[in-house]
Amino acid sequence: MTLDELTTGQAAKVEQVRGEGVFRRRLLELGLVPGTEVMKVGQAPLGDPLRIRVRDAVLSIRRADARRVEVG
């Protein structure tokens, strides 16, 4: 499944970041490398962006971008 499909409070491990170029590099460099645990901690009132905890930090990430991160 993909990162945007997690329910609040659910954790999973990153399997792969799809996409290319700047987008993919940013996510990888923020620590979303394969095997890293991520958890959805919430979402903005309109359901987008999501709040994801990764490596001790909370990131705000848009749903469309989260869809490109495969987790399991």
Binding site: V22, G31, V41, G42, R55, A57
Partner: protein, 728 residues
């Protein structure tokens, strides 16, 4: 400036207290400047108590890969591209150590002497998990000093460590070896880079730069000026791909593999569940659909009210002070003038006008912005330091995305409804250059408070107070329509400009939501002070000069009183008890350069329903839009002591006719003028601050051109369309 080798560059992730540490180390010597050709700022200062060490602070970044203007500045400084660097001071985040190591490892690869500052050590201690600086130093192979920029703890030890590295530099090296395949790819990739980067570089540095190149993207604007041979990079990547290797994942993965391998010994996610619980509990309220929205609305209401009305007494105070100063000085000049005669007297009279109207008025029109800028930056600093500003951006992201802008654009755009000048300065909180420019270009379209007196004047003078069958007054409705129109058009302008003039590569709106912290008063003060200094010294000069020029246009050529008014007018005025001086002032203005310009531009504005007298008002309103009211008061011989509620001015406007007897002011002319004021770039101060923030005249010129075109066309459509429909 110190010798090149004694330069220390501070690098670190955002939200690690890097600037607080920089400020603590440099104290009052620090000053902020723009990096040439960019909107990115960089601070410099001397290390307090050290022997001529120059410190440079660059924007916080998660990586040295330079894919935005901010990151490019940080990368250039770390590389020593513009000026040699003696020591790279890497600021680590003690409570969240594991995550700040990625950038540190990238820096170690470069080989430049490094000192690590283990910052926020006090916060880490409160949380009961203090990383051991000695152990970390052994792992990384460079000096590590535990410090706190907030409390000043460890700063002496940090200075000693930096001084030791400067006097006997020891090159850094990463604590891991690259795989053989990756090392050879990196060496090939390095050949794609500018030759002088590699002159005299060690093998380690060549490889580090090669890894950096492998993370480069061809279409990145921030790197467009560098002669990088992307064909070489593509061939390295393609060759690797045929062996099933993904180089981007490999490069990043190598560093994270080391971090994960050593994370057990570092405070990390496993030991921080309690912290997360606290932060998550606060977020559960502040990000809640109902409570979070209410808190957000309340915070933004306070910010807006402060700018829009609570700053009023301060603004009036400054206005009053300069008005009083002007009167006192004018009195002095008048006395001097009366004691002299002939040419000397008129020379003194001219000088008096220049000093009072031009200089004192000009300085006043600069300083009048100080309360709003100071208050807005006070709020922004408090919100930013506390961690709420990022969350406000998170909350608003979905809505602003409709306009092609990130959530961070919300506070500046909201501020624009009070005044564009502080609002444009507030776009400094937007991390991406393109988003920042786009926000700056649409802010002047939001309905600032200076337009309100103009709307009120036109509505009160020309629109009926009540329309039968309408539940609200026509005047209230007209004002509502103007605010709604400004909002809709600024959104549309953002969409159009974002797809044309400022088309940028899409980058994901990834935003870190930092932990909640109490604002640090020195940070808040410094942010307010820097904003005010930049405005007064740089934008202020432009505003002052422009104000004097505008005053000259409105006041010259000068006439003797008897030249202005023919004898019959004087006699008539005496009989009716009219104020001769005011009549003469009005005539002088109509015959001034601005008056001549107004007449010259009449053909251009006649299709909008305006005559040349309105043209003078439009010119006068460049000083500030609300000056339109006083200028029209002067033009119509009522005097400049009028406000938008002045009944004599309203009556005079309604009585004004064209040469053929048609009334100048109909509700349709009023509507056309209001639309013109809504969209036209009629504010010297806005242009001056745009110039200050973008460091070029190109963007102020662009904003003027697109807004003037928009204003003229819209007013044309309103006026001519209205006439076709039988109004006016």
């Amino acid at each position: 400036m110190s010798a090149p080798a004694r330069r220390v560059v501070f690098v670190g992730n955002p939200n690690t207290g890097k600037s607080t540490l920089f400020n603590a180390v440099t104290g009052a010597s620090a000053h902020v400047s723009n990096v040439s050709g960019t909107t990115v700022s960089r601070s410099r200062g001397a290390w307090r108590g050290a022997d001529a060490i120059e410190c440079v602070d660059v924007p916080g970044t998660y990586s040295l890969a330079a894919h935005s203007a901010d990151e490019r500045v940080a990368f250039d400084a770390a590389l020593g591209a513009d000026e040699p660097v003696g020591v790279l001071l890497v600021v680590l985040d003690a409570p969240r150590l594991a995550r700040s190591l990625y950038l540190a490892l990238q820096v170690l690869e470069l080989g430049t002497p490094v000192v690590c500052a283990l910052n926020l050590i006090d916060e880490a201690r409160q949380r009961g998990r203090v990383p051991d600086a000695g152990e970390l130093s052994e792992l990384l192979g460079v000096p590590v000093v535990a410090v706190s920029g907030r409390t000043g703890e460890g700063l002496d030890a940090l200075r000693s460590a930096v001084e030791a590295q400067l006097s006997s530099p020891s090159p850094s090296r990463p604590p891991y070896e690259l795989s053989e395949a990756l090392a050879s790819d990196a060496e090939r990739a390095a050949e794609a880079l500018p030759g002088h980067w590699l002159d005299g570089a060690s093998r380690q540095r060549r490889r580090a730069l090669g890894l950096w190149a492998l993370l480069c993207d061809e279409d990145v604007e921030a790197l467009a000026d560098l002669p990088i041979d992307h064909r070489i990079l593509a061939s390295v990547r393609d060759t690797a791909a045929t062996h099933g290797r993904d180089l981007m994942a490999e490069v990043v993965g190598t560093r994270y593999a080391w971090i994960d391998g050593h994370a057990a010994g570092l405070p990390g996610p496993a030991s921080s569940a309690a912290d997360h619980a606290t932060q998550d509990r606060v977020d559960a309220v502040l990000m809640h659909p109902l409570w979070g929205s209410l808190v957000f609305a309340a915070v933004m209401f306070v910010v807006f009210q402060t700018l829009f009305s609570w700053s009023g007494p301060l603004v009036d105070g400054i206005d009053g002070l300069f008005g009083w100063l002007g009167e006192v000085v004018a009195g002095g000049f008048a006395q001097a003038e009366s004691s002299l005669s002939g040419g000397m007297a008129s020379a003194v009279g001219f000088l008096g006008d220049l000093v009072v109207e031009g200089l004192i008025g000009g300085v006043g029109s600069v300083l009048v912005f100080v309360p709003q800028i100071g208050l807005l930056f006070l709020f922004i600093a408090l919100l930013e330091d506390s961690g709420y500003l990022a969350r406000a951006a998170h909350l608003m992201d979905r809505i602003l995305r409709l306009a092609g802008l990130p959530g961070q654009a919300f506070v500046p755009l909201l501020s624009g409804y009070a005044c564009a000048v502080p609002a444009i300065m507030a776009t400094r909180t937007l991390p991406r250059h393109r988003d920042r420019l786009l926000t700056m270009l649409v802010i002047p379209l939001t309905s600032c408070s200076a337009r309100l007196p103009v709307y009120t004047l036109l509505v009160a003078a020309l629109f009926p107070a009540a329309v039968p069958g309408l539940p609200v007054s026509a005047q209230a409705l007209a004002l509502f329509v103007m605010y709604a129109l400004a909002t809709v058009v600024s959104v549309l302008a953002a969409i159009v400009l974002g797809r044309t003039a400022l088309r940028g590569a899409a980058s994901p709106a990834l935003l870190e939501l930092p932990p909640y912290r109490w604002p640090h008063p020195p940070n808040v003060w410094r942010s307010v002070k820097n904003a005010l200094e930049a405005f007064v010294t740089e934008a202020g000069q432009v505003i002052l000069v422009a104000t004097v020029v505008l005053w000259g246009l409105l006041s010259f050529p000068q006439y003797e009183p008897e030249e202005l008014l023919p004898a019959d007018v004087v006699a008539e005025a005496r009989a009716s008890g009219a104020d001769l001086e005011v009549l003469a002032q009005g005539e002088a203005l109509r015959r001034s350069y601005a008056g001549m310009l107004g007449q010259a531009m009449e053909p251009a504005i006649a299709p909008l329903g305006y005559d040349w007298k309105i043209g003078i008002g439009l010119l006068g309103s460049f000083a500030a839009r609300e000056v339109f009211v006083a200028t029209m008061g002067l033009v119509y011989g009522i005097g400049d002591e009028v406000d938008e509620q002045s009944a004599p001015l309203h009556e005079r406007m309604r009585a004004e006719t064209h040469a053929d007897g048609r009334p100048v002011y109909t509700p349709l002319t009023g509507a056309s003028l209001m639309v013109f004021f809504a969209f036209a770039m009629q504010c010297l101060s806005t242009l001056a601050v745009l110039r200050r923030e973008t460091h070029t005249w190109r963007w102020p010129a662009f904003a003027t051109a697109y807004m003037m075109a928009l204003a003229w066309l819209s007013a044309f459509v309103v006026y001519q369309g209205g006439r076709l429909l039988g109004f006016g």
